[in-house]
Amino acid sequence: MAVLQDLGTVGRQTAALIGKEFTIEWRQKYSLGSILLYAGGAVFLVYLSFTGRSSALHPIVWHTIYWVILLFSAVTVTARSFINEQRGLKIYYYTLAHPAAIILAKVAYNALMLVLTSTLSLAAYALFLKFPVQAPGLYLLNVGVAALGFACTLTLVSGIAAAAQAGHTIMPVLSFPLLVPQLLIHLKAGKSALDGLDSGIIMNHIWPGLGMGLLSLALSLLLFPFLWKA
């Protein structure tokens, strides 16, 4: 029974913390705006690079460049979750909430932000550079699952980077190698969706991607309490 009560507490605290993240985000609208501008700017840059030579934009190039933009945006979005938090607030939360609640809330918030960022940047991408995907539904599903998976991995890495002095500098260094397995899986799935392959084949790639994301989530839950104590 105590375990159930604990779970209930964690659940309530998580919900409360997610609400807090959104409130802070809404008050500091410039953060979300800057991310969208970042992604939008990147998309526009790609568009300008390919204008006039749109024949050079093969679907595979289109696909690859989108994922590069997504990767960099993901790292930027999640970097803010721990690195920008003030010391005093950190200690305050430490005394109040269960560490599992804190990390779950951050992961959930980052996941939502990444899904939002990825779909909005994909929409901008499609607006400027067309949408040469033959299985759009599965492509979108792939992007969504990738956003969730990235959030799981990157949130803990953000926590690790926040402990180091130059957090923002070290965040890309730490996160890119760790993201590569998920990225490769999702790139493959996306390429299959691009070519309009059978949905069974595409799902065969999306499931491992989801699996890796869940693995990262489980590890984050296990390891975060140690990080929180530091």
Binding site: A163, I170, V173, L174, P177, L178, P181, K229, A230
Partner: protein
């Protein structure tokens, strides 16, 4: 006589045996591979040693998180660094081999790329340690990263290459054993070589640990 521990003597004997037998003993004639299968004694065995060193590093990291003794942190970091050296050597020997069998040193084979990414992970570990000046914090944060990185490293190098087509011998199912049609002659060099390289790696690591401890006390 030199006062060396038994396992260091064993290491020396095994390494000399590996090098001599690796080059002089007969090998089965397999298509495409021919004599280059000898690379297996060096490249593959070094990779095994690297994995074992990384597991050692992981174990020490977990122990550090559990108990907080600085010796565990030193052991974890030094075995990871030795593993990185072995990894680089593995990539180099693999590239040399590939130049003659696949035609080019780096052909974008999934296993090659995965190995390089894995190396980047542990180099990032070294950078992270450099960015954390305070000893206890460094130990704790890098231990957390080590565990996380290892958990992602294993799927990266074992599972991912199998999902894709690869030229790597052994990528049709197993991590390289059956595909070589390991006969008794190859096995006779392979297993001792793995033990030899691992012992060598551990020897180097213990030296580095002692060096690190001396620096800490000064």
């Amino acid at each position: 006589m030199l006062k060396l521990a038994w396992w260091k003597w064993l290491c020396i004997i095994l390494m000399v045996y590996t090098v001599v037998a690796g080059f002089l003993m007969g090998v089965p004639r397999l298509p495409i591979l021919n004599e280059t299968i000898r690379n297996q004694h060096f490249h593959v065995t070094m990779w095994f040693a690297m994995i074992l060193l990384l597991v050692t590093s992981l174990v020490y990291s977990i122990r550090y998180l559990a108990k907080g003794r600085i010796e565990d942190d030193i052991a974890a970091s030094q075995s990871a660094y030795t593993a990185v050296v072995f990894g680089v050597l593995g990539l180099v020997t693999g590239s040399i081999w590939a130049t003659y069998t696949w035609g080019e040193p780096w052909s974008g084979d999934p296993k090659q790329n995965s190995a390089a990414i894995g190396l980047l992970m542990y180099l990032a570990y070294a950078i992270l340690r450099g960015a954390l000046p305070e000893q206890q914090q460094r130990g704790r944060i890098s231990a957390i990263y080590n565990i996380f990185a290892f958990a992602i490293f294993i799927p990266l190098i074992f599972i991912l290459p199998r999902l894709k087509d690869s030229l790597h011998p052994g990528n049709g199912g197993n991590p390289g054993f059956s595909a070589y049609d390991l006969d008794a002659r190859l096995r006779a060099v392979f297993y001792p070589a793995v033990i030899g390289w691992t012992l060598l790696g551990w020897w180097i690591t213990t030296l580095r640990i002692r060096y690190q401890k001396l620096i800490n006390t000064l």
